[in-house]
Symmetry: C2
Subunit: 244 residues, 2 copies
DNA sequence: TCGTTTTAGAATGTATTCAAAATAGTCGAC
DNA sequence: GTCGACTATTTTGAATACATTCTAAAACGA
């Protein structure tokens, strides 16, 4: 069915630079998953991906384990062998994911709330600018979904950058990107609720300016919780993807 | 310096069972790190570990990446190559770690607080039993530290088991074990404050029985926060390990 | 025709080999 | 004597080769 010989004959193996294959594989495969090119629930074949990415199984294998640890891939393990599948997208998982991120960012939120006033003002200026942009976009029916997502993401990443320590930053970088899968699948429907998120962001900014850790933490938790609820409605309507 | 030939000559390579090397490597190396056999800050050499564990570099390599993702190993990366070092133990890191776990367990705490009464009672009976045992141990000067740690751990893991979803459970399993490094290093000094933790656990149990999510979440957060503070004092006194 | 057993193929796990890059050490020039 | 460049060794990254196990299909028997 699949011509085995094509590999040695057709692909000269471009050899990117050396030392970049693992990272490349990780990014590429994650991209495939996020964009739905690898459907939720799909079985993952190392050899197939290796051929697709034009590299050997070794870095692909590493990337798969990495993606597994970050939640993009699940392990269906028998006694010794393990089959990997693309993690399904479910309402429960989305809810859990959003709650977790809300709590984590809440911690960073406490961090920024106790920064010196000067830094807080500087940060809030940037946050405000991002949120203003979101406000504008929210009134534009034809706004590109990608820009909205990146904008919202920047808002939250700024808070991490200013308020989180090394460990939190690492953890956040591992978990937060997973929201993109849900976002992309249900993007069009989420947009119309965008103004709600803008208001929640405003509350966070005010909390930071007031230097109130509890208010900031709560504000961020609420933002993600409400987001989870909005997303949940959409998933219920459209049905879950990845239970196939 | 290091005899290269010894590998093929001396080690018959026991070959555990096949398909178990990666997991074995992960566990063994983590054990080495947790028990301080690999000191914080030490450079990690794949070949050395492979020889030590009597396997090839391949599973060792996988295990190292895994441990890196879980925070036991850090990457000291130049442009392209990456040197791995055992993660140092610092006051700041401990604080961050404990706060994070507190927030995560808090979520699970909300979960158990809304379980049906029957399950809550069943759970609380088990929790109470564990905490009673801790209470007894806390009055025993010569109590084995290992038992205390395992007992405390069981308490928290029970809450996760009953109140957390799949994603939370995975995340908790990845993060919580890292507390053991701090615990082991400063165990003797922490024990004398154990009665405080027992009281905090009691508050959690009462919150669960009352079916009050906020109370349970706060209780767990406080337990970890106070633990972080207690640990911080000890670290300050003894000095940080791993800045060598 | 259905069930069981055996065998062939496919996919994962591990070892080994090969390549590239960084670091350390040495030699030479100023 | 010191600084810099070049070389050699060490170590990581990737590819390929090999072993094992799981799956599934086919054949044989009831």
């Amino acid at each position: 069915m699949k011509k085995k010989l094509s590999l040695s004959a057709a692909s000269p193996r471009a050899k990117a630079e050396h030392g970049t294959s693992l990272l490349t594989a990780f990014r590429e495969i994650r991209e495939l998953i996020v964009h739905g090119r690898l459907s939720p629930g799909t079985w993952i074949l190392e050899a197939e991906l290796a051929e697709r990415l034009n590299m050997s199984r070794t870095p692909v294998r590493g990337a798969i384990h990495w993606l597994q640890r970050e939640g993009y891939i699940l392990e269906h393990r028998n006694v010794k062998k393990s089959r990997m599948i693309v993690a399904p997208l479910t309402k429960e998982d989305a809810n859990e994911l959003y709650i977790i991120i809300g709590r984590l960012e809440g911690i960073a939120g406490r961090g920024v709330a106790v920064l010196p006033v000067a830094e807080r003002k500087e940060l809030c200026a940037q946050l405000q600018e991002l949120n203003d942009r979101l406000q504008v976009i929210s009134k534009d029916r034809d706004a590109p979904p990608g820009e909205i997502f990146e904008n919202d993401r920047s808002f939250h990443r700024l808070i991490i950058k200013y308020g989180a320590g090394a460990r939190m930053t690492t953890l956040h970088k591992a978990i937060e990107p997973q929201t993109e899968r849900y976002w992309r699948l249900y993007a069009s429907s989420i947009i119309k609720d965008l103004y709600l998120s803008v208001a929640e962001h405003d509350e966070v900014i005010r909390g930071i300016l007031a230097g109130d850790p509890d208010r900031v933490e709560t504000g961020l938790q609420v933002n993600w919780l409400k987001g989870s609820e909005r997303l949940g409605h959409v998933i219920e309507i459209f049905g879950e993807r990845g239970s196939w």
